[in-house]
């Protein structure tokens, strides 16, 4: 096998993490020892029971509604590779409209096979039923589930809007009983053990390492945490950092019942008890191995061994690879891993995006789709906006069928406000190529914005008549090569915690580098644990970004954006700028009331930016700050806090609590899905006992950055008539002034 040719192509094709790894020079098994000739998968005795509510599978918090004569919803049921489903039941609870006729039904299909149906009765609209599904229909991976409602109408022309079935997503779901498989230990298990197709709500992974890691070890741990986060994609990762156990069985015994994988990071001497049965040649600089024990079926340890600090880091980085070469081996040696420099990495365009970019809506996750039937259809897209006075232009490519009434339209909504209509008025059908819809600045807000395309299709002819067959002929296809284009105005400069939690552009808004420092105020285990969990979460929500984990005591941070973790008492002064947080009850914050900052407008015409820069000597001015005390009385114990601020060119984001243990608890709690999404603003406070995150934001307003001129602009917009009167007076004064000036000029002549 020619490795030199194989690896670059392999990596390019398979890695979304190309920003970190572009080139792997050598990654080889030193020996073919311990090759497993046949997959020896055994079943464990573990029988697990899971309940998966539909709210989790459908991302719908409360309920879903199936409306019309026929309506269906499709979704996927993920089945982990290492679980064999033994029993599966779908419980459905909901309510139907009393306007439906009989027979109406709700049919359940699994991978195309009908598995049962529920009769919908208008006289007993509430329904609660369970359908048992044949587990042999399920395959490892994603299984297609279809819920199809068929509503008969009591009257011939009953309005479709009144024919509906609503299913509670909280109270409906799958009850799964499965058996855990225990294949022979080999490296390919990394993929199966770190599988985002998970029945559980999160994955728990212990990491065993030396109690006091040095700088390189710490950095390696940080990379491992990010690798775990990325491999698990959106699934919450709960990392517990533990000190090395003495033997392999001891370590496996330390795994909790729901833990199937642990990581061991150490030197040859430290990991020898774990891998001594593998006959790894002595002198192998760095290697990774998957090990298990017959006494603990289904539990594994991934052992990363390196004596040199640099090699440790390389091992951690190799874990970033989605799939490893020589996966069928139990161990491989990793040497001379070559990585590109961050500056050589290509620029990634993603949404949310920075600057003036045009992208297909496919980049927003939308695929070409056809909408049929009368009623309201269309996608909803989320777009990040980090600029005041930004505008968005949609260039829509769509075609629609013949037979649409001229009143049919596709409305474009921005943040639930109407923007424009695309007429679907040609009865012979039609198509649009680059139909332009401009969304003005005042309909967009800073941060996330929703852009919805809603097609209202009506059949041609008498609307009072009911011809269902005609409705099914109504069709509109929106193509995913339609594009979205953002026209920037001045960018928001204030950092915001939402930029960390909101999947996005904090790095492009406030920092230009691809790798930022995460700094620990001390080297204690709980704080390391906290940082690993935070890094795993950050890696999931910011896919094109990397962090370097360092300790304040060992290394000085150098990046312009730094994330600090530690008790407040240990944090340096510049990270606390204008912020004073007391963790007593009630909590007192000193926060800036108003921040005035000179924003350099980003002109569309690049040379103008250069001219602006010439005259913008004051662009590094510090914010003008006022202070206020805020009491939040209902925060209970176990509080943690986060804040972010910019001082000079540097942006500091800080996670803090009274002590390391509290911060560890706080971060673990914060990284839970429902909590992490609440992290926003300039200051955030949360307690492990409260489901809420309290946030305080400095509100930037569009015109504050312009100072007096725009302030007056707002005022005149609000008081047009009074302003007009003043304007006329000013003009009259000008007339008098000019007359006076001319008299003086001519007298002087």
């Amino acid at each position: 096998m020619n490795l030199g040719h194989y690896f670059p192509r392999h990596i390019t094709q398979s890695l979304p993490l190309a920003c970190l790894l572009l080139c792997l020079h050598a990654f080889s098994p030193v020996s073919q020892a311990q090759a497993v000739t046949a997959p020896a998968t055994i079943q464990t005795d573990a029988h697990e029971r899971f309940v998966l509510p539909l709210s989790k599978l459908l991302s719908a918090e409360q309920s879903i509604t199936l409306r019309g004569h026929t309506a269906n919803i499709d979704f996927s049921l993920p089945v982990p590779d290492l679980n064999r489903v033994q029993h599966l039941q779908l419980q459905l609870k909901g309510v139907s409209s009393i306007d439906i006729g009989t027979p109406s039904s709700l049919v359940v299909r699994v991978n195309g096979q009908v598995q049962g149906q529920i009769a919908l009765n208008p006289h007993a609209p509430q329904f609660s039923d369970s359908i048992t599904i044949d587990p042999t229909l399920l395959k490892a991976g994603y299984n297609n589930i279809t819920l199809r409602a068929r509503h008969e109408s009591q009257e011939i022309c009953r309005d479709e809007e009144e024919l509906w079935t609503e299913i509670s997503t909280q109270q409906s779901g799958f009850v799964i009983q499965s058996e855990r498989l225990a294949p022979t230990a080999k490296l390919s298990l990394i993929r199966q053990l770190l599988d985002k197709k998970l029945f559980a709500n999160d994955i728990q992974i212990p990491i065993f390492s030396a109690p006091q890691p040095d700088a390189k070890q710490l950095e390696a741990l940080g990379v491992i945490a990010q690798a775990l986060g990325r491999r698990m994609d959106y699934v919450p990762v709960n990392i517990q950092h533990q000190t090395l156990a003495a033997t392999l069985p001891t370590a496996l015994a330390q795994l909790a019942p729901e833990q199937y994988l642990g990581l061991v990071v150490g030197t040859t001497a430290q990991t020898l008890p774990y891998v001594e049965h593998l006959t790894i040649p002595s002198g192998t600089a760095a290697h990774m191995a998957m090990v298990g024990d017959a006494h603990y079926p289904g539990r594994y340890l991934l052992v990363l061994t390196a004596d040199q600090a640099e090699a440790q880091l390389q091992l951690a980085q190799s874990l970033m690879l989605e799939s490893l070469p020589f996966e069928q081996e139990q161990w491989v040696a990793v040497t001379d891993l070559q990585l590109p420099s961050p500056s050589s990495l290509p620029h990634y365009n993603e949404l949310p995006f920075e600057g003036q970019v045009i992208l297909p809506i496919k980049a927003l996750g939308f695929n070409t789709q056809t909408y049929t039937g009368r009623g309201v259809h269309g996608p909803v897209m989320r777009v990040w906006n980090n600029g005041w006075q930004s505008r968005i232009q949609l260039n829509l490519n769509l075609n629609y069928s013949a037979g649409l009434d001229p009143q049919s339209v596709m409305n474009v909504m921005a943040n639930d406000l109407f923007v424009s209509s695309v007429p679907l008025q040609d009865p012979l059908g039609g198509e649009y190529l680059n139909y332009k819809v401009s969304i003005p600045a005042d309909l967009l807000q800073l941060g996330w914005n929703t852009i919805a395309l809603k097609a209202y299709m009506q059949p041609l002819g008498n609307q009072q008549q009911c011809h269902r067959e005609r409705d099914e002929g109504l069709a509109l296809t929106l193509h995913d090569d339609s594009s979205i284009q953002k026209k920037t105005g001045p960018s928001s400069q204030l950092p915001d915690l939402a930029l960390l939690s909101g999947a996005g552009t904090y790095q492009s808004a406030v920092s230009g580098s691809l790798i930022d420092d995460v700094v620990l105020s001390n080297n204690e285990l709980p704080l390391i644990n906290a940082s690993l969990n935070l890094l795993a979460k950050l890696a999931q929500t910011n896919p094109y970004k990397a962090w370097k984990l360092i300790s304040q005591a060992q290394q000085t941070p150098s990046t312009t954006h730094q994330i600090w973790l530690g008790p407040k008492s240990e944090l340096p002064e510049n990270t606390l700028s204008s912020t004073s947080i007391q963790f007593d009850n009630p909590v007192e914050l000193e926060i800036p009331l108003r921040s005035a900052r000179l924003i350099v407008a980003h002109e569309r015409f690049a040379p103008l930016n250069a001219i602006n820069n010439l005259f913008s000597s004051d662009k590094k001015a510090e914010p003008a700050v006022g202070l206020a005390n805020i009491s939040i009385a209902d925060l209970a114990q176990h509080r943690s806090a986060a804040w972010t601020h910019q001082t000079g060119d540097n942006t500091y984001t800080v996670f803090s609590a009274d002590d390391n243990a509290l911060l560890d608890q706080g971060i673990q709690y914060l990284t839970k899905p429902a909590i992490w999404g609440q992290l926003r603003g300039n200051y955030a406070l949360w307690s492990t006992e409260s489901p809420r995150v309290f946030s305080i934001s400095l509100v930037e307003t569009p015109f504050t950055s312009y100072g007096l001129r725009a302030g007056v602009g707002i005022w005149v917009s609000l008081h047009p008539w009074l302003s007009l009167g003043i304007l006329l007076l000013v003009l009259a004064t000008f007339v008098a002034l000019i007359r006076w000036g001319l008299r003086i000029y001519h007298a002087a002549k």
Partner: protein
């Protein structure tokens, strides 16, 4: 100095602050509507256009609305996201609009308080008055054109011992007389002899030189060594002066020792091609009246009047100090003024028409003249940049630079003719704005600009006529500008052809570009109508740009009307004469009457006749005219007999002049009175409403434009061979 700078800068900053204030569209709509209403009230409140406060207020309101518009265009609407073509054309359109805006700002500034000078009577004994030389440079013009000018110059109301008239003949140089082409040499010799005879007969001096170097400036510089007058009156050979020219201008020189120049209007007795071919002669103000009646008085108020090559008196000592007339460029007049001003000398403008000149008869002659002017002004800017010239005030620098900047109108107009086509035909986005925004910003600015222009210049320029002049010059002046910018020293002095006669009508060869532009606009309009209402096309934008294209199409049709040359049989234009009594001797009886119009060779008169006397009139009969003012009679021959009405009849007479005195009387009657010239101009200064002007444009487009196309069609259809 600091106080003055602050006094200027502070209000300007406040004004800019207001004009660029970001505000919602509702405020823009409310304020723009209200300001327009105020502007309209002021417009109708000052019908005489003499209230300085209202003039300033109207200028300010218009300036405010147009500044808001141009700021909005520049900051909000540039189409920089729709591809390369859109960027280029969008920037060009914006550049054209910006140009119009800057021109408008400078125009407002110039016209804020025009200077209306009154003549300063000559002081002291006539023997102490400065001596005056009259220079009449000529090159290849017909001696008959020169004749009237020489006669009028020699009978200027000024002490004879202080007045010398010089004909500076560049057509009679040794170089011309001995050129290789013997036929041309013979023609030059004959012409020279004829001019020498005229000079000899009417008391003028004939001067010529060896070689034709440095064109008109060289010709005049050559004359300087032969003349000694304190003042020099320069007259183009077709500029016939009125009697009182020196009486009304020399006083300014006595009053101000630093005065270098007194410029007076170039008053034309004949129509230019636009007036002639669209039949507006005698009804509409002539093109130059905008400049001489509105712009020059404004320039004079800022001390930046400039020499226009003729009808001006210059101080000889300053010319000597300069080392002669400047001749680096082809507009020696403006160049000389610039040099004199840089030495600290002043200029003045006296707005009374005191010459009667000829316009170029053909469209090609007109274009030749305008291209020369434009190239000359750009030459001055490139070779003698006023902005860098020492000794000039900031205002003088700015306004002199503006003279070059002014000629950008041609390119700007050309862009405006092409832009709607690009949008309507090829969907090239030129302005990234919505119809409500256009309504809020563009329409108020446009209306205010129209009203403002109508207020300032309405009496001397009908609405939209400027646009028409711009359209007809756009292509050729743009080409001329390109040439001069490419090679600043390449243009040479081209004499404007004058006094031509056109025996039959024809299509000017310069009409071709307008066919293409018209066709493009018409196709764009047709396409706009076709796609209007179709899905995917913004109706508001199509309406707006469609109206723009329609306006362009009308202007282009009018331009075609201008390029359809009408026959011109009379080489000499007639001057309307009022209140000039005569006694006509018809068949041994005398009939009282008065002049209707006159030229140097004939007249139309109105005489009191009985019906019997009228019936006895016969074409070709001799009818001498006698006057109370003159001892001699003028012999005439009857060429036209009008109908008899109310004991009166109109007669067309042709002079049969034989004596010097008779020639002098004929010239004096037709051109001698500047009061008459003023009266004639005033009769054309009634103005026209915007709607009326739009109607006229449409009529010209429909009548003369289509006549042009019809004639073109006839020309293109191959004729059957005659049997």
């Amino acid at each position: 100095m600091i106080t003055r700078t602050l006094a200027l800068a502070l209000p300007a900053l406040v004004f800019l602050f207001i004009a660029t204030l970001p505000a919602r569209l509702n405020f823009q709509a409310i304020s723009a509507s209200a300001l327009l209403a105020v502007l309209l009230i002021l417009f109708f409140a000052d019908t005489k256009r003499q209230n300085p406060k209202i003039r300033i207020a109207i200028s300010l309101i218009s300036l405010l609305l147009s500044t808001r518009y141009i700021y909005w265009r520049g900051s909000e609407t540039l189409p920089l996201e729709f591809g390369f073509l859109s960027i280029i054309l969008g920037l060009l359109v914006f550049g054209a609009e910006l140009y119009a805006y800057i021109n408008g700002v400078l125009g407002s500034f110039i016209s804020i308080q025009p200077n209306a000078r009154v003549a300063i009577p000559l002081k002291g004994d006539p023997s102490s008055w400065p001596s005056a030389d009259v220079y009449i440079p000529t090159y290849n013009e017909d001696p008959h054109i020169l004749l009237a000018t020489v006669i009028a110059a020699t009978q200027l109301d000024y002490p004879k011992d202080k007045l010398n008239v010089y004909v500076l003949d560049d057509g009679g140089t040794a170089q011309k007389l001995h050129q290789n082409d013997t036929l041309k040499a013979a023609q030059a010799l004959a012409r020279t002899k004829e001019i020498q005879l005229i000079c000899q007969q009417f008391g003028a001096h004939y001067l010529t030189r060896e070689k034709n170097e440095h064109a008109k400036a060289g010709n005049m510089n050559a004359a300087l060594s032969h003349t000694q007058g304190d003042l020099i009156l320069i007259l183009d050979c077709d500029h016939i002066p009125s009697r009182d020219f020196l009486q009304r201008t020399v006083g300014f020189f006595q009053a101000d020792a630093k005065l270098f120049l007194v410029q007076t209007p170039h008053n034309f007795a004949s129509p230019d091609p636009l007036e002639r071919n669209l039949r507006t002669e005698g009804i509409s103000p002539t093109e130059n009246e905008l400049f001489y009646d509105a712009v020059q008085p404004g320039l004079d108020s800022w001390g930046t009047t400039f020499f226009c090559g003729s009808a001006a008196v210059l101080r000889r000592s300053v010319i000597n100090e300069l080392g002669g007339f400047s001749g680096q460029t082809i507009t020696e007049d403006a160049e000389t003024t610039l040099d004199a001003m840089s030495l600290g000398y002043k200029t003045a403008y006296y707005a009374r028409p005191m010459v009667s000149g000829l316009q170029p008869e053909t469209f090609s002659g007109f274009i030749l003249q305008r291209v020369r002017w434009s190239q000359g002004m750009i030459q001055i800017f490139l070779l003698k940049n006023p902005l860098k010239m020492p000794g000039l005030t900031v205002l003088q620098k700015l306004l002199y630079a503006n003279f070059a900047f002014y000629w950008g109108f041609a390119t700007s107009r050309l862009i405006m003719l092409i832009a709607p086509v690009m949008f309507l035909m090829f969907s090239v986005n030129l302005c990234n704005a919505s119809p409500p925004e256009l309504l809020g910003f563009a329409i108020p600015a446009l209306l205010a600009s129209l009203l403002h222009t109508q207020y300032l210049y309405g009496q001397v320029r009908w609405p939209f006529i400027s646009q028409l002049y711009e359209v007809v010059q756009s292509v050729y002046v743009t080409r001329g500008l390109y040439e001069v910018i490419r090679k600043p020293r390449s243009p040479t002095f081209q004499v404007t052809p004058k006094g031509e006669t056109l025996s039959s009508g024809f299509i000017s060869t310069l009409a071709k570009p307008f066919y293409f532009l018209l066709l493009a606009n018409l196709l764009a309009l047709a396409h706009a109508i076709y796609v209007y209402g179709q899905p995917g096309y913004a109706q508001g934008a199509i309406l707006y740009v469609g109206f723009w294209a329609l306006t362009d199409a009308i202007l282009l049709l009018c331009a075609l009307g201008v390029t359809l040359e009408r026959p011109q049989l009379r080489a000499e234009p007639r001057i309307p004469i009022s209140n000039f009594p005569i006694t006509a001797h018809v068949n041994d009886s005398s009939a009282e009457g008065h002049y209707i119009n006159a030229s140097s060779t004939g007249a139309r008169v109105n005489v009191n006749l009985s019906q019997q006397e009228h019936q006895q009139l016969q074409l070709g009969m001799k009818i001498p005219l006698s006057f109370t003012q003159y001892p001699d009679t003028l012999p005439t021959v009857l060429k036209y007999i009008g109908p008899w009405q109310n004991d009166q009849a109109t007669l067309g007479l042709r002079y049969t002049l034989t004596t010097t005195a008779q020639y002098r009387i004929a010239i004096d009657i037709a051109f001698g009175s500047s009061a008459q010239l003023s009266l004639n101009n005033d009769a054309r200064h009634k103005g026209k409403s915007i709607v009326g002007s739009l109607f006229s444009l449409s009529r010209w487009a429909g009548v003369y434009g289509l006549a042009h196309l019809y004639k073109l069609l006839i020309k293109l259809i191959p004729r059957r061979p005659q049997p």
